[in-house]
């Protein structure tokens, strides 16, 4: 169940033109590119909802393997895994990961794992 709200007046006002949405029974803050503004708001239920919106009917085992690896790595290291770490950690090539997520790696897998938006213009 999702319900979109506009930013003005919310706690997110002034934050990068993001928006607040009502997801999984609570307010969740997103930035303008659809990334969670606060990674601690992530939950598996939210990942499921966002995945459906991105065109993944149901997150399968290999999706979760990627999402959990990225998320665990981020929580332990404070950053996303390097490309070679991701590849080794999930046992898939980056091409295989990219294909599994309609939004690709950076705006698909990473977004569903609840990592912050990489602000580099190269991301």
């Amino acid at each position: 169940m999702t319900q979109d709200e506009t930013t003005p007046g919310s706690a997110l006002a002034g934050r990068d033109s993001g928006k607040v949405r009502f997801l999984a029974g609570r307010e969740v803050f997103f930035d303008a590119d659809g990334f969670l503004a606060d990674p601690s708001q992530w939950s598996e239920e939210i990942a499921d909802l966002l995945a459906r919106e991105s065109g993944i009917e149901r997150l399968e085992k290999d999706h979760w393997q990627v999402i959990r690896f990225i998320r665990d790595y981020y929580l332990q290291n404070g950053r996303a895994p390097l490309h070679r770490e991701l590849k080794k950690g999930v046992g898939m090539s980056l091409m295989e990961i990219e294909i599994r997520f309609p939004g690709g790696i950076k705006q698909g897998a990473r977004l569903l794992a609840g990592l912050p938006n990489p602000k580099s213009c190269g991301m």
Binding site: H83, L94, E98, G122, M123
Partner: protein, 381 residues
């Protein structure tokens, strides 16, 4: 790793450049000209020698008008902010890097100046007539990139210089992508100031760059401090080059630049450019035949350096770059390349593209591997 991000910085640097830089620094790395002892004088002579060498290299007319800065962005800030006056106008182009766009925008938002940006054509070239039309009576400066960092196109500086000279507008040239690769003569081209960086095609270290000013062109200091001369005065010295250099110089970087210039002399800039162009052309032609791959600009190889911008239909450039790196060991630069207006014009303003930029140490085999990698990625979805 196959390194194809040489437009960001050349890598690796020639070992002999690094070794000579470190050896000289170990022997003479004191504050140049600041002390009364012999070593300080010797260090100062080394620095003066590099100024003379750079002056000749770029066709300047006074070694004292060679100003050291941290990089091209720093040098451009120095010259732009030290030249324009309130109520003024600047002409530049849509091809510029943020190193030009952001200082101009900053000055516009401060209410000091206005600026216009001339467009580029479908191949990535500027038209000198557009510069002529954009110049107003209030125009105080024209700023131009010599070579686009996104498309690799070399701009007709001599013709634009002639326009600026005729209209009495000083021309500043950003050579971040061309210095060390394309022969430059600012005196012949009617350029008033040139900004360069040491760590790209000049093959020096990061942290060193500068300005070459013509004798006829003055720049106001915008930062102030110790210079080692006129110390009794509280007002910053007006004597070049110290007028625009405050604080201890980056002598390690300057010695690196010197070593790099010696290396380039031995290798021959023309030969490096010829080789890089041939490799970029091989890359372009290899990718041009692949389905779902879009290339930007055009194959005017006699007016380009070794930069190729590509995208794969239906894929984010950031992901293509990640796959090139993670699955194929190929380093490229993805995104907007700090040149947002170029990408906006190309229709890639949101996600950008994948930029391959060859350097002096790339090989045909590496280029063929990059083509093969792009072919495989383009077939993956």
């Amino acid at each position: 790793m196959i390194y194809l991000d040489n437009a960001a910085t050349t890598f690796p640097k020639p070992r002999e450049v690094l070794e000579r830089m470190v050896d000289l620094y170990a022997a003479k790395g004191v504050s140049p000209g600041r002390g009364g002892y012999d070593c300080a004088q010797e260090a100062d002579e080394l620095v003066s020698g590099v100024r003379k060498r750079l002056c000749r290299f770029f066709g300047g007319d006074d070694p004292d008008r060679v100003i050291f800065a941290a990089n091209a962005t720093d040098a451009l800030n120095l010259v732009i902010q030290g030249t324009v006056k309130p109520g003024g106008h600047v002409v530049s182009s849509q091809l510029e890097h943020n190193s030009v766009l952001r200082p101009l925008q900053h000055l516009r938002e401060a209410g000091l100046i206005d600026y216009d940006l001339v467009p580029f054509d479908g191949q990535g070239f500027l038209d000198p007539d557009d510069f002529s039309r954009a110049i107003r009576p209030q125009t105080q400066l024209a700023v131009l990139t010599h070579t686009s960092n996104v498309l690799g196109t070399i701009q007709p500086v001599e013709a634009i210089g002639a326009v600026c000279r005729e209209k009495g507008v000083p021309l500043v040239l950003d050579t971040a992508q061309s210095a060390g690769l394309v022969s430059i003569d600012i005196s012949a081209w009617g350029v008033s100031a040139l900004a360069f960086t040491g760590h790209k095609s000049l093959l020096g270290p990061t942290g060193i760059g500068g300005l070459i000013l013509r004798k006829s062109f003055d720049v106001r200091p915008t930062r102030f401090g110790g210079t080692g001369i006129d110390s009794q005065e509280l007002i910053h010295t007006q004597t070049y080059p110290h007028r625009l250099e405050a604080g201890t110089l980056n002598i390690l970087g300057i010695l690196g630049l010197m070593s790099a210039l010696e290396y380039l002399d031995k290798q021959g800039m023309e030969e490096i450019l010829r080789r890089e162009r041939a490799l970029a052309r091989r890359l372009w032609e290899g990718m041009a035949g692949l389905k779902r791959i879009k290339l930007y600009g055009g194959p005017a190889w006699d007016r380009r350096v070794g930069v190729v911008l590509a995208n794969i239909e239906g894929m984010l450039p950031a992901d293509v770059g990640a796959i090139l790196d993670g699955d194929f060991g190929i380093a490229t630069r993805v995104g907007l390349h700090c040149a947002p207006l170029v990408h906006r014009t190309l229709g890639t303003g949101r996600a950008g593209g994948v930029r391959f930029s060859v350097g002096p140490f790339n090989t045909e085999e590496e280029i063929d591997q990059a083509v093969e990698a792009m072919a495989r990625i383009s077939r993956s979805r």
